[in-house]
C-alpha cells in the first residue's frame, strides 16, 4: 500500500487567517475562535488517505488562494414570537443562549472544516423559536458568498424550545458566476421536547465554487425533525448531516437530493445516532448524475447500547444518466442493541427502459419521457417539501438542470 502522507502544503495559510480577525468581538467569541483554531491546527487539512475523505479530493481547495470574507446573511420571515437576527443584533438574553449552545452540537473534533469555520467566525445567524411558539411563516436565511477568491464561513444556530413549531429554509449561493470561492458553513439545530421543526438547506453555489457544509441537530423527547438537503451547485460539494435522537419518542426524517453534471463532485455523509429507546429515523437521499460527475453517499446509523425499539430506514437510490458517471454508496449500520428494526438499501440504475417504452407507447416524445421519469424520481423528495413556493421553485430549478436524455435508446 502507499505510504500515508499528509495533505500537500496549502496555497492559503488557513491557520494564519485566524490572526486577522482574532481581536474582534466579545471575549467569549474570541475564545471560541482561538479554541477552534487550536483544533484546526491539531486536525490539519484532510486528505484522501483518511477514511472520511477517501472519495473526495480537496486538492482544488488546498491549491486555492483565499481571503476571508464577512458573512452577510439575509434573514426574513418567522412571524410573531420568533426571534431572528444576526449575532451583532442580539440582545443579552439571546446572547446567553448563543454562548451556552454554540459549538456544542457541531463538535470540531474530526471535522477540520468545522474548526476552520470556528476559527474565522465573524457573524452568526440566529433563529430562536421560544417555548410553545408556532412560527406563522417559514424563516428564510440567504447566504451570498463574497467575490471569486473569498473564503466564506456562514454560521447558523437554530434553537427550538419545547413544543415549538417552525420551518427554516437556508440557502447558499454566490453572485460570482465563475465561482472560485470557498464556503465552509456550519448549522446547528436544537430541537427541544415535543418540537416540530422542518429545515431545508439549498446549496446552489456558482459552478466553479467549493462548498463544505455541516448540519448537526439534536432532537429531545417527542420532538420531530424533518431535514431536506438539496444540492444543485458547486464544483466540489461535501455535506455532513448529523442528527442525535436524544430523547425517547424523538424522530427525524432526512431527505436529500443531489444533481451533478459536467465534472462536479458531491459527497454526502449522514450520521444518525439513536441514543435512547423508541426513536425513529428515516433517510432517503437521491442522486441524479450526468456527464462525468461523481457522487458519494455514506450513511451511518448508530444504535447505542440500550436504544431498544429503534426503527431506522435508510435508502440511497441513484439515477445515472451517462455512462461516465460514478457513484460510491456505503450504508454503515452500527447496532449495539438487540431489539431494533433497521433497514438500508442503495440502488444505482439508469432510466427504466420499460417505463420509457410505456410513456412512448402513449405518444410521449422520448426526450419528454426521459425528463418526466427524472422529474418523477426527484419529485419523491421535492413533494415532501411543505413550503409551496420553495417546492415550485426547486421543481423548476431541477427541471432546468436536467440534461436532455437519450430516451430514444429506450
Amino acid at each position: 500500500m502507499s505510504r500515508i502522507t499528509a495533505a500537500p502544503p496549502a496555497a492559503t495559510d488557513f491557520e494564519a487567517l485566524h490572526l486577522r480577525i482574532v481581536g474582534e468581538g466579545p471575549d467569549w467569541i474570541r475564545e471560541f475562535r482561538t479554541n477552534a483554531r487550536s483544533r484546526f491546527v491539531l486536525e490539519g487539512l484532510p486528505h484522501h488517505r483518511m477514511e472520511a475523505w477517501r472519495n473526495t479530493n480537496i486538492a482544488p481547495i488546498v491549491a486555492g488562494l483565499f481571503e476571508p470574507a464577512c458573512s452577510t446573511p439575509e434573514i426574513s420571515g418567522g412571524g410573531e414570537g420568533v426571534w431572528t437576527g444576526r449575532l451583532s443584533q442580539a440582545p443579552e438574553k439571546i446572547l446567553a443562549l448563543v454562548r451556552n449552545n454554540l459549538g456544542s452540537l457541531a463538535d470540531a473534533e474530526g471535522h477540520p472544516f468545522t474548526a476552520l469555520n470556528g476559527s474565522l467566525l465573524n457573524e452568526i445567524t440566529l433563529v430562536v423559536l421560544p417555548e410553545g411558539c408556532a412560527a406563522g411563516e417559514p424563516v428564510t436565511i440567504g447566504h451570498t458568498a463574497g467575490p471569486g477568491n473569498s473564503l466564506n464561513v456562514p454560521r447558523t444556530l437554530i434553537l427550538a424550545g419545547e413544543r415549538a413549531i417552525g420551518t427554516i429554509i437556508e440557502t447558499f449561493e454566490g453572485t460570482e458566476t465563475e465561482g472560485g470561492y470557498f464556503t465552509s458553513a456550519v448549522t446547528e439545530i436544537f430541537c427541544g421536547k415535543d418540537t416540530d421543526v422542518k429545515y431545508c438547506r439549498v446549496q446552489r453555489e456558482a459552478p466553479g465554487s467549493f462548498h463544505i457544509g455541516r448540519v448537526q441537530a439534536r432532537v429531545e423527547q417527542g420532538g420531530r425533525l424533518h431535514t431536506a438537503g438539496i444540492a444543485l451547485g458547486a464544483a466540489l460539494d461535501r455535506e455532513d448531516a448529523g442528527v442525535i435522537l436524544a430523547g425517547e419518542g424523538a424522530s427525524c426524517e432526512m431527505d436529500g437530493l443531489f444533481l451533478t453534471d459536467e465534472s462536479r463532485h458531491v459527497d454526502n455523509r449522514t450520521r444518525i445516532v439513536h441514543a435512547v429507546p423508541n426513536c425513529r429515523s428515516r433517510q432517503v437521499y437521491k442522486g441524479i448524475l450526468s456527464d462525468r460527475s461523481t457522487a458519494v453517499f455514506v450513511g451511518r446509523v448508530i444504535v447505542r447500547p440500550g436504544a431498544q425499539h429503534t426503527d431506522a430506514d435508510q435508502s440511497n437510490p441513484n439515477l445515472l444518466l451517462s455512462d461516465d458517471t460514478t457513484v460510491y454508496t456505503r450504508p454503515q449500520l452500527e447496532i449495539y442493541a438487540d431489539d431494533v428494526r433497521c433497514t438500508h438499501g442503495a440502488t444505482v440504475g439508469q432510466l427504466d427502459a420499460d417505463a420509457l417504452f410505456y410513456l412512448r407507447s402513449r405518444g410521449i416524445d422520448p426526450d419528454e419521457a426521459g425528463r418526466l421519469l427524472v422529474k418523477g424520481f426527484a419529485g419523491e423528495i421535492l413533494d415532501r417539501i411543505e413550503v409551496p413556493s420553495l417546492r415550485t421553485q426547486l421543481e423548476s430549478e431541477v427541471a432546468g438542470k436536467l440534461p436532455v436524455t437519450s430516451g430514444s435508446e429506450g
Binding site: 420499460d354 402513449r362 405518444g363
Partner: protein, 256 residues
C-alpha cells in the same frame, strides 16, 4: 386497417414470431389466443413498437403506412394503443399530467387543438364513469401502488381517453376477478365503432364471453395455426391447447 404479412421477429437471436399473417379491418374485433410462449404478447409488443424485439422479415401495414418505420410514440399518435399485460409503475409522475401530455401529443399530431386543463378534466370525468375508476387514482403517480385490477382498469381508462383507432389488449383479463372483468369488458365494448378495430390477446376464453370477437386466431409456436369465427374459442375451451399443438405442422418443439 392493419395488415401483418409473414412477420418474423426475434429476441436475442431467438426467433419468436415465425411468419405471422393477420388482416384486421375497421369495425372488427379479433381475438388472438394461444398457449403460453406462443408469441401472442410478442406480436402485441411488436405492433406497439417495442425495440427489444428485432423484426427480421415481413411487413406490418397500418392505414396504408409502413408501421415498422415508425417509432412507438408516432404509432400511438396515429391511433394505436397497447393495453399492457404488465402496466409499468412510474413513481413521481402524476397520472393526470401523464395522460394530458399523451392526449395532447396525439391531438397536436393530428392537427387538433390541444385541450386545456378544464376541457381535459371534463373528458376525464366522463371516461372515468364508464370504467368506474376511483377518482383518487387520478391524482396518484402512474400505476404506483395500484392493485393488479386497478392497473388493468387504468389501461382501459387511458384507452377511453386516448380513443385509439386500433386497440391491442394484451391479456387484459389476467388478474381480474369476474366483476372487474365485466367492467373492463363493458368499457372496451363502449369504445367499439365502425371505424375502429380491437385485437384481444388472451389465454382464456372467458374475456371473449364479454368482448365478442368476429374472428379468432390461434397462435402456436410463432405461427397462426387456426383461424375461424367465435366458435373456435369455444372449441379451444373444450379441447385445450394440446389439441392445437398436436395439429401444428413443423417441428414438435414448443416454447415454454
Amino acid at each position: 386497417m392493419l395488415s401483418v404479412k409473414n412477420l418474423k421477429a426475434s429476441i436475442d437471436g431467438t426467433e419468436i414470431l415465425k411468419g405471422i399473417n393477420l388482416d384486421v379491418k375497421a369495425g372488427e374485433v379479433h381475438a388472438i389466443m394461444g398457449p403460453n410462449g406462443s408469441g401472442k404478447s410478442t406480436l402485441a409488443q411488436v405492433i406497439a413498437g417495442r425495440d427489444t424485439y428485432e423484426v427480421t422479415e415481413g411487413s406490418v401495414t397500418y392505414m396504408g403506412k409502413d408501421l415498422l418505420e415508425l417509432p412507438p410514440e408516432e404509432r400511438a399518435r396515429e391511433g394505436i394503443f397497447l393495453a399492457f399485460q404488465y402496466p409499468v409503475e412510474i413513481p413521481g409522475v402524476n397520472n393526470t399530467y401523464f395522460l394530458k401530455a399523451a392526449l395532447n401529443a396525439a391531438r397536436k399530431h393530428q392537427g387538433l387543438e390541444e385541450l386545456d386543463a378544464m376541457d381535459f378534466l371534463m373528458l376525464v370525468r366522463e371516461k372515468m364513469k364508464i370504467i368506474q375508476l376511483d377518482e383518487e387514482l387520478l391524482h396518484r403517480p402512474v400505476n404506483a401502488g395500484f392493485s393488479g385490477g386497478e392497473k388493468k382498469r387504468n389501461e382501459i381508462f387511458q384507452m377511453a381517453v386516448l380513443d385509439p383507432k386500433l386497440a391491442v389488449l394484451d391479456e387484459t383479463d389476467s388478474g381480474l376477478d369476474i366483476d372487474a372483468l365485466r367492467t373492463v369488458a363493458e368499457g372496451v365494448n363502449s369504445l367499439r365503432g365502425k371505424d375502429k378495430a380491437i385485437v384481444v390477446v388472451t389465454h382464456y376464453q372467458r374475456l371473449l364471453e364479454h368482448i365478442v370477437p368476429d374472428y379468432v386466431h390461434v397462435l402456436a409456436d410463432g405461427r397462426v395455426v387456426r383461424s375461424g369465427g367465435r366458435e373456435l374459442a369455444l372449441e379451444l375451451e373444450k379441447e385445450g391447447y394440446s389439441w392445437v399443438e398436436q395439429q401444428t405442422a413443423g417441428p414438435a418443439e414448443t416454447r415454454g
